[in-house]
């Protein structure tokens, strides 16, 4: 084709050596590659440390020796093509994969120093320390108010003044207060999809989690609702440590501080979002973020 780039095309020759598919070919053949972790990621204090973490579904290995710190108080995005293991990794953080019978893991994860997979770790207690929001909004079939204070209620809190305060603070934190303050007693199921998703985020932050896990939180939302949730993620920066899985690269570039690129269960490159999207170190990352494969 006449428009195909010439061999000397500048966009075909980023700095690192070897053709773009080298590492990906190694990985596809079942091999392991050394991930490119930028210095600035290592320098930031971590809320969560993932340490040589492997996971198998039956005989199929889904995560291969993932080692990465998740910076404290920052938004970290996991990107990569379908099946790269980003959701599996996210769900391993709060041990949701425990519910899958064939799952086997090795390696470690530590939440503020506490080993997540330690035998003595109480999984219920662990999950209280993390908030999770899924692809589809899942408000409970109860009032907006009760949705937000649900975690406190099951923890035994019944003082109205405390519940009211947490409800308002969380809804404000989730940028939803102004839209719902006059109808807190109404069913949460009457909210729009975008509002429901922000309600789920409010419910998650009501428990003041150490980490907020977001699994493709906008994939079921229209562009306007997506914009609002993205604005909210921006607002959460600095207040919460957020780990977000997204298949939308523009969302990662807009809303995160750090971005990790995964491929076939391996961490490939991990660095500040601006660097990943303007001058990634590896050709493989370059090829993925510019849409040349994946």
């Amino acid at each position: 084709m006449s428009n195909s780039p010439s061999p000397a095309d500048p966009r075909q020759s980023p700095p690192s050596a070897g053709p773009a598919t080298d590492r990906l070919a190694v990985v596809a053949a079942g091999g392991q590659v050394e991930p490119e972790v930028h210095e600035r990621v290592r320098q930031t204090p971590a809320v969560l440390e993932i340490d040589r973490f492997n996971l198998w579904y039956g005989t199929k290995q889904a995560l291969h020796s993932i080692t990465m710190p998740i910076p404290h108080g920052k938004v970290t995005a996991l990107i990569g093509p379908s099946g790269c293991g980003k959701s599996t990794l996210l769900r391993s953080v709060n041990r949701l994969n425990d519910l899958v019978p064939s799952v086997r893991i090795t390696g470690e994860m530590r939440l503020n120093g506490d080993p997540i997979y330690d035998q003595r770790m109480d999984v219920i207690e662990l999950r209280k320390r993390m908030g999770m929001v899924f692809q589809r909004p899942n408000p409970f079939p109860m009032s907006i108010y009760e949705n937000v204070v649900y975690a406190l209620r099951i923890d035994g809190e019944s003082r109205r003044v405390v519940l009211d305060e947490v409800c308002e603070r969380s809804l404000r934190g989730a940028a939803l207060w102004d839209e719902v303050k006059d109808r807190l007693g109404e069913s949460a199921l009457g909210l729009s999809g975008g509002q429901q998703q922000r309600l789920c985020i409010a419910r998650a932050i009501a428990a003041e989690p150490e980490v907020l896990l977001l699994d493709e939180p906008c994939s079921a939302l229209d562009p306007i609702a997506t914009g609002k949730v993205e604005d909210l993620i921006q607002e959460l920066r600095g207040l919460y440590s957020v780990l977000i899985v997204t298949h939308n690269m523009q969302q990662a570039s807009r809303s995160s501080d750090y971005t990790a690129f995964m491929y076939l269960g391996r961490l490939i490159e991990y660095g500040p979002t601006t660097d990943i999207f303007t001058k990634p170190v590896l050709r493989e990352t370059e090829a993925y973020v510019t849409g040349r494969f994946g």
Partner: protein
């Protein structure tokens, strides 16, 4: 599978190549007009400047279109941003060629003042830098781009020599002051062209490697 953006970027590359060719020709003609005191050739350079301006606007519009519609990232983004800046520098090189051509017309009938010999060397060097910087853009060649940065010093040195010669000339023959000042201004324009070629070379390094090397000494 060819990405749609590849076609857009291919077109953009072709457009900036064309601007480069036209500007290179304007520079080469204006210098030749100085050396041969060829007023007609100078007139042709002046007449062509409008075409360069038009092409510059076209390239800029193309860049803005790609940025708005495709939101390029990484190498694609760097390419479009570099072209945006290179385009600007090329247009300014075209203006400098026009300024040189204007001086040629003013030199006409000024009497037989010899051009300092270094002007020729300087002009040849500057022309080569322009040619090479365009090749570096098209081939995305950072090695060539780095070599161009080094050549700029040679031009600067020649320019100092010419300047000293002109000062001496003014002292010796004060009656020639006007024409000598015009020649001085021509060499200044040639030096600026070499500077712009250096800027373009630096943008090529950014385009390929992602590092902004401007205002940094050569490694």
């Amino acid at each position: 599978m060819t990405r749609h953006i590849d076609r857009q970027i291919g077109n953009l590359k072709e457009k900036i190549r064309r601007v480069g060719t036209v500007v290179e020709e304007a520079i080469s003609k204006s210098i030749s007009a100085v050396i041969n005191r060829d007023v007609q050739l100078a007139q042709r350079v002046l007449a062509n400047d409008e075409a360069i301006d038009r092409m510059e606007v076209e390239v800029e519009e193309e860049c803005l279109k790609i940025l708005a519609l495709y939101q390029p990232v990484a190498a694609d983004l760097r390419f479009v941003v570099a072209v945006l800046k290179i385009n600007n520098d090329l247009e300014r090189m075209g203006d400098l060629a026009k300024n040189i051509a204007k001086r040629v017309a003013q030199l006409e009938g000024a009497g037989p003042v010899d051009l300092p010999p270094e002007i020729r060397t300087m002009a040849m060097q500057a022309e080569e830098m322009v040619r090479e910087c365009l090749a570096a853009v098209i081939d995305g060649d950072p090695v060539l781009a780095r070599r161009i940065r080094e050549q700029d010093d040679v031009v600067d040195e020649a320019r100092q020599k010419v300047r000293r010669r002109i000062l001496a000339g003014i002292k010796e023959h004060p009656e020639n002051v006007e024409v000598l000042l015009r020649i001085n201004s021509i060499t200044k324009h040639i030096e600026r062209i070499a500077d712009m070629a250096t800027n373009v070379a630096e943008d090529v390094i950014y385009m390929v490697e992602g590092d902004i090397v401007r205002h940094r000494p050569e490694e």
